[in-house]
Amino acid sequence: MAERGVFRLGLLVVVLALAFLHFALSPVFDSWYASPNLLLCAILVASRQLRPGAAAFIGFSLGLLEDAMAVSYFGLATLTLTLLAYLGSLTRDLFLGEEPLFIGTFLFVGTWLYEVVSFLVLGAGGDALSFILLRAPLDGLATGAAGYLVLPFVRAR
């Protein structure tokens, strides 16, 4: 029981740290061609450890913060991240285990999906094909790598 409490606390610390770094380092990441989405990394990693309701709550809370940073299309990040967290948690019934390769792929797909949905909904300018096939996958790879690094801290014992 105590071990479970320690694990939950560790997960919370990792989620908060990743969220903090996501917002604090965004000026640095903006200048990179491919950058990890640490917020998404936090949500997806947490969703693999939590029940759908709790995962959706984390997705909602962090999505709200993401929306607060850019006032246009308010609520879009909240909705998308809540859904992704919920769906991410449901994958626990489909895929067992926390293999690094699986988690990397899971984060890659989640990031790619989030960025492509945001791009299409925002109607953002630029070459759509290049964004969907190059930029978003590179961000997904970077997020996967970040997730791989934090995995030892959140893996259920």
Binding site: L64, A70, G75
Partner: protein
């Protein structure tokens, strides 16, 4: 469900919620973010400023006498100081989210503490940058002209042609001058400035230059592609208009005489 409710909230409520979150939960993060962004730009500018300082100190010596003479002459002629608009300087930080090819929003490091109000125009030495949307105590949020809902009334410098400027949403970002009269055709390179109509932007802020004709609705109106004076990615230091701007004319600030 709650996320959908957030999306359907009135825009004013959304702004209040966003401002509250930024000034509470996100406040320390924003401070750190500003610091990191400053560090990056400061490193590059130190050397540049050092060179500038040396040349300015020489110029300053020569200008001091001219300024004193100017003041004496103005007092003699009983002329008032130029301009009624008041600008405050601010650092601008890009705000955005995944999936945005072109930046649409920004955060300024000044707010109510510097008398900034919502709908205050934001300008750079090149021209129009955007408008403040939500104001917090020590920071504010705004939209670049690239925002899809951004509109500004524009005119040619000679005041013959008027139209509405909006973003085309492309990358690199371009503008569209919509609703220009059909009878007059603008040539590429024609400079466009704010017209002062609409009650938000004062007259005379450079917006951009006409690039090409986009479409002509027969006998009715023309629309042009416009190359902007300021690109969102290239601006870090801005000025925010905090008083007397809506009805004033700031043309002289951007003319060669005003910049001298």
């Amino acid at each position: 469900m709650a996320a959908v409710v957030l999306m359907t909230l009135p825009h004013e409520r959304q702004l209040i919620l966003a401002t509250t979150l930024r000034s509470t939960v996100l406040a320390p993060v924003l401070r750190l973010q500003s610091g990191l962004a400053d560090m990056g730009t400061m490193r590059a500018r130190v050397e540049h400023l050092r060179v500038e300082r040396d040349s300015f100190s020489v110029k300053l010596l020569a200008l001091q006498n001219v300024a004193e003479e100017n003041l004496r002459l103005r007092m003699l002629l009983e002329l008032a100081e130029r301009g009624t608009s008041t600008f405050v300087p601010a650092n601008l930080y890009l705000a955005g989210r995944a999936g945005e090819g072109v930046k649409r929003a920004f955060v300024l490091d000044i707010g109510r503490n510097a008398s900034v109000q919502a709908d205050a125009p934001v300008v750079a030495p090149g021209g129009l940058v955007g408008v403040v949307r939500a104001v917090g105590r020590g920071q504010s949020t705004g939209d670049f002209w690239t925002h899809p809902q951004f509109r500004v009334s524009a005119m040619t410098v000679d005041g013959r042609v008027f139209g509405i400027i909006k973003s085309l949403g492309d990358s690199p970002p371009l503008m569209e001058l919509d609703g220009a009269p059909y009878q007059v055709e603008l040539t590429p390179g024609t400079e466009l400035v704010t017209s002062g109509q609409g009650g938000v932007f004062p007259r005379g802020i450079p917006i951009g230059r006409v690039a090409e004709l986009m479409s002509a609705e027969a006998g009715w109106a023309r629309s042009y592609r416009v190359r902007p004076a300021v690109y969102p990615d290239a601006v870090r230091e801005v000025m925010v208009l905090i008083g007397g701007g809506e009805t004033s004319d700031v043309t002289e600030l951007w003319t060669s005489e005003g910049q001298r």
